[in-house]
């Protein structure tokens, strides 16, 4: 008997029995248990930094569920610095949906969203969260904040659920162009957003605290750069889940001391790993977009693999600059505008090409998550750019969270053929 599946069924059954708080308690218990388990017996094959991240992400998801009165809903591209300066626990909705997949109950919540009339073409990260919201399983946060970067589908998710839960919501509109006008436009919105949060919380933003958060972020960036410099010619273990967990660190929890500690440990750990020898058979793979972390064949090939080293996903490197602590809001506005997922697809392509070259990657795998139009829509352009740069490229389709949307046979055949191709020198 699959214990996780059994547990997932309990979560589902309690929703069906109109007992959403019991389902939420099961999720909380599951997270608490996992956190305790990882504390007592971390995965031995991971270096300390990855063991730390493994537990940290469970805790970071647990906090806003545990303390909803001090939480907010955010998406991947929300301005985390301001949220942390207010001392609020963000519930990162894409991560919540991913954990539903971890509990093997994502299908149920996705279907619940569809039963409410949500289109099945909407991203499943959102459908999962909407399904949980529609069944009143989510605890009520204080407010919600999102941005239009990369994903405009998420705006409707936030508007719908914040209206349902009667919580204020701020949507930051990020223009495609980067100029004085757009910087000032985003900065103004950030000010309005801060006012909204101040009204909700009944306290002013502590500017010193915001500066501290930005200092943490800049230090984190330095550790991250040290790690990346080492990664250019070193082997370092990775798994699909850990790479997705890094999104916690590079985005929603950027600026927190825990994130800084993780990258500090990572920068130290990698020094203990060997250089990749010349003429080695190791193939270094750079991944584009999201990873279906649950997928059997991909886990088999990549998790802790010494043959196919997963270097990273491009979203973890979508903005690599430092922030100006003297002009925090302007700096955050610039960061959002310059995110390579904002604006023309060519920005994303340039980032992928630069990262592939910098990290000495041998090949690129581009995952098209169903429901994410920018990803599949831009694949022909990305492929063309890879061909121009002589970088072998594979595109695979599937769903980042919904197990039903990924065909194992298709993935296995493509992956095996691709590995044979790159091992034989084809591109």
């Amino acid at each position: 008997m699959d214990a996780v599946k059994f547990y997932g069924n309990l979560i589902k059954n309690n929703i069906d029995k109109n007992n959403p708080s019991k389902s939420l308690n099961l999720i909380k218990t599951g997270l608490k248990f996992t956190s305790e388990k990882l504390k007592l017996s971390p995965v031995k094959a991971y270096p300390p930094s990855l063991q730390y991240l493994d537990k940290l992400c469970v805790d970071l998801l647990y906090d806003p569920i545990r303390y909803p009165e001090n939480s907010c809903w955010v998406n991947l591209f929300a301005p985390s610095e301001i949220i942390h300066a207010f001392g609020i626990y963000p519930l990162f909705i894409e991560a919540f949906s991913s954990f539903l997949t971890g509990f093997k109950c994502e299908d149920f919540f996705i279907d619940k969203a569809e039963e409410c009339g949500i289109s099945n073409t909407l991203c499943s990260y959102h459908r999962g969260f909407l399904g949980a919201g529609s069944k009143n399983m989510l605890p009520k946060p204080r407010f919600a904040v999102t941005s239009s970067i990369a994903c405009d589908g998420n705006i409707n998710t936030f508007r719908y659920l914040s209206a349902k839960y009667d919580v204020p919501c701020y949507v930051i509109d990020i223009p495609y162009n980067y100029n004085e006008e757009s910087i000032s436009y985003v900065e103004q919105q950030l000010e309005e957003m801060i006012e909204m949060i101040e009204d909700v919380l009944g306290k002013k933003l502590d500017e010193d605290r915001l500066r501290e958060v930005i200092q943490n972020e800049n230090k984190t960036r330095t550790y991250m750069n040290t790690y990346l410099e080492c990664l250019t010619d070193k082997y370092f273990p990775n798994t699909l889940t850990l790479e997705m967990y890094k999104l916690f660190a590079t985005h929603v929890f950027m600026g927190r001391t825990e994130t800084m500690k993780f990258y500090q440990m990572l920068a130290e750990d990698i020094k203990n790993y060997p250089d990749i020898e010349k003429d080695t058979n190791v193939k270094r793979i750079f991944w584009v977009h999201l990873i279906p972390f649950y997928q059997k064949t991909l886990r088999e090939y990549f998790n802790l693999s010494k043959k196919y080293q997963l270097l990273g996903i491009d979203i973890n490197f979508d903005y690599m600059g430092y922030l100006d602590e003297k002009n925090p809001l302007e700096s955050i506005a610039k960061k959002m505008l310059l995110n390579c997922y904002n604006g023309k697809f060519e920005r994303k392509i340039d980032n992928v090409v630069n990262m592939v070259k910098y990290l000495n990657a041998d090949a690129v795998i581009d995952f098209h998550h169903f429901g994410c139009k920018q990803s599949s829509g831009g694949s022909a352009l990305l492929k063309e750019a890879m061909q121009k740069n002589n970088i072998p490229y594979l595109s695979i389709d599937g769903d980042g969270v919904d197990r039903r949307g990924t065909q194992d046979g298709q993935i296995r055949t493509r992956l095996e053929a691709f590995f044979e191709m790159i091992n034989n020198g084809g591109n």
């Binding site: 008997m1 699959d2 214990a3 996780v4 388990k37 059997k296 886990r299 088999e300 998790n303 022909a380 492929k383 063309e384 595109s395 389709d397 065909q407 046979g409 298709q410 296995r412 055949t413 493509r414 095996e416 053929a417 691709f418 044979e420 191709m421 034989n424 020198g425 084809g426 591109n427």
Partner: protein, 318 residues
């Protein structure tokens, strides 16, 4: 002495025997019908005249390659893209593009200097695959092997919306109700499928000559003609177009043997043994792998689905 290649696809299971000179000595074509083990066993029954000792090595490919590998004791288990490319290159080393359309998937493979340099496969859409043509043949009550002849008799193909199998079917019904003849509708369907293939799978790819058209759908002369019309040059259908996966697999088995390896082939008598599978939920770690155990005469012969090798290595070791 021979080399065996088995291609277990979603619709058909093809088995070939080749000799030292790559000549096809024997071949069997069966419908898989969702029961790959039975299809292999039925095929092996027809090949019982060959002794186990005559087979120097065996290979499997196709979507059922893994299960087939356990059943026959394969030496090489390879994906169908590699197998098709190997077979095409053996026949003609100048081939630059392979159009392969099978029962439930279609592929394009690009080659340069005898190496696969790019490929694409259709995803979850069945439009343009053999199964869709089969279904339309059945609906029109025309034997599938006559589909090509019908298409070639057409002078003015009807334009069919071929982007989606569901819409293509309703469009065909609509065109029938408007009174178009079957020949023009079938020819129009072939053109629509080719258009769909070139717009989706071959999108952004330069289709360089020489082009091979292989897989079961290559039997349809109407499809060959539609590809030639669309591309403006000749498309070659190799003699054993529907066995190319199995041929490639046999060639890979030959390469395996020539490297000095011994075969694990179990012989054609496996046709008379009982095979079944069962699923085990491994509780060894938090991965909780769903392991499939394969049994021959109720004895385990293989496991797959475990990430750590705890189960799959068990059989290798014993």
């Amino acid at each position: 002495m021979y080399y065996l290649g088995v291609d277990v696809g979603s619709v058909s299971t093809d088995i070939v025997l080749i000799d030292e000179n790559f000549k096809i000595i024997d071949k069997v074509y069966l419908k898989t019908k969702g029961r790959p083990i039975k299809a292999i066993q039925d095929g092996f029954r027809e090949l019982k005249k060959y002794k186990k000792e005559e087979i120097l090595a065996a290979g499997t490919t196709g979507s059922g390659r893994q299960i087939a590998g356990y059943v026959i004791g394969a030496d090489v288990v390879k994906n169908e893209i590699t197998a098709h490319a190997v077979a095409a290159l053996y026949i003609d080393k100048d081939v630059k593009t392979i159009i392969e359309i099978g029962g439930q998937d279609s592929k394009i493979i690009t080659l340069k200097d005898g190496v696969v340099t790019d490929f694409a496969m259709n995803t979850v859409c069945a439009a343009g695959t053999g199964s869709f043509l089969d279904r339309q043949a059945e609906r029109l009550e025309i034997p599938i092997d006559k589909f090509g002849e019908y298409a070639l008799r057409s002078d003015s193909p009807v334009r069919i919306a071929g982007r989606c199998a569901v819409f293509a079917e309703s469009d065909m019904i609509h065109k029938q109700q408007l009174g178009y003849c079957e020949e023009d509708i079938i020819s129009g369907l072939c053109e629509a499928l080719v258009r769909n293939y070139l717009n989706n799978l071959a999108k952004g790819k330069e289709i360089k000559q020489k082009v091979f058209f292989q897989g079961g759908v290559a039997a349809n002369a109407g499809m060959k003609k539609a590809f030639e019309n669309a591309l403006g040059f000749e498309v070659y259908v190799p003699e054993y177009y529907s066995y190319m996966g199995a041929v490639g697999s046999a060639i890979l088995a030959k390469e395996y043997y020539e490297k000095g390896n011994k075969t694990k082939f179990l012989g054609f008598n496996i046709a008379d043994l009982s095979f079944n599978t069962k699923t085990i939920d491994c509780s060894g770690c938090s991965n909780r792998c769903e392991v499939v155990e394969m049994l021959r005469e109720n004895k385990p012969i293989g496991f797959f689905g475990d990430r750590c090798g705890k189960w799959s290595e068990k059989v290798k070791a014993s």
